[in-house]
Symmetry: C3
Subunit: 158 residues, 3 copies
């Protein structure tokens, strides 16, 4: 176990939880930590390409994958949605407080060499393929998550 | 602290979170870890007997315990319920992707000698008795949780 | 890393999750652990002064801060709200089972010298000032969270 390794297991695709996950990750990375984020279940949606349609080569069967949120720009809050107003309000508050938006936080994580790993079982579950996710993502299962977690001294789940 | 011990604290009884908890647990157990799951608050509902009615000897006062979800077959999702369609859809997706159902995941956990511990304070809170839970469950409080967590190197909460 | 240090990162301001966070914290503290609670995002609302109005000197702009829950007495459940009946029912069940209420749990945490730290970025986000929170709270950012987490052997997030 190394005191400079961390993992963040991202189960949720709620906007507020995604922001928290990336703010924690980027903070830890800025302090010199090697951080691995593992995206499982709804969390894989955070890494979906921003394109509206399904990319060519996707084996997403449409009906299911289309019902899920598609990437950072389309997320809802875990609460306080206020009929769609909540996410708009949070984004406005973030700009006012100079907090980075989610897309910017993801880019910063990648610039800081945070490892982004998507759970292959979750992709299978939702009928998504590796091509549906943004570039620079690794693909692995639960065993890989625990290999990283075993080496880290802080393992968060959200 | 041992690198082959893990704990998973299950606070939620949402179907999606329960699946994640047991998939992580069973994965860790398959890798040779001793895993303890501690079920607190809503989480104790995951361990309720599948029988519809209250078993004889239960001191569940009915009105409250009846309002809570009763075991793996009756869970809702943390989101995307779609008026009851969501859980049906997720179960269908799971079969298609060859992911075990929750009941099967619980059985596998028990076969792998995962320790299932139900929080006695939570049982008290909901007016449930030990007899309301499935066989093979241990009963303990928060102090026992930390005894296991202190020995583990990965402690997750969902 | 010390086996007698713990951190609890409180992201949520749901009543049920707040109760779980403080019951775990107080349990760990009673066992001799030094516990640091870090309140981020919605979690900062748990520490708001119980007063209905904004205190003098608050720079909360009203419109946003007024929409958020104000302190322990006003929380909702993460589920099972039942149109406002859920929180009342949970509080009744807690009294019946002799479980402390949230305000009492917070007071007990402070008596046990649990460190309560509020995330300054979250306060900024919601337009809250340090004066809006109860006495005895410290203020810090993500780097401070990881300083405490690095020293602890159990780090929970809820």
């Amino acid at each position: 176990m190394d005191s400079d390794k961390k993992t963040v297991l991202v189960f949720s695709d709620d906007l507020d939880k995604a922001l928290a996950a990336f703010i924690l990750t980027n903070g830890a990375a800025a302090m010199g930590n090697e951080v691995t984020m593992f995206f499982a279940f709804w969390g894989v949606n955070l890494l979906r390409r921003p394109s509206g349609g399904m990319p060519a080569g996707s084996r997403a069967p449409g009906s299911v994958a289309r019902m899920l949120t598609r990437g950072p720009a389309h997320l809802r809050l875990s609460k306080w949605n206020l009929g769609g107003l909540g996410p708009i309000l949070i984004r406005r508050l973030m700009r006012r407080a100079n907090v980075m938006g989610l897309q910017e936080l993801i880019t910063t994580a990648q610039e800081q060499e945070v490892r982004l790993v998507a759970c292959t079982m979750s992709l299978d579950l939702f009928g998504l393929s590796e091509k549906d996710l943004v570039d620079g993502v690794e693909f692995a299962g639960v065993a890989t998550y625990f290999e990283y977690a075993d080496q880290a001294n802080v393992n968060l789940m959200i």
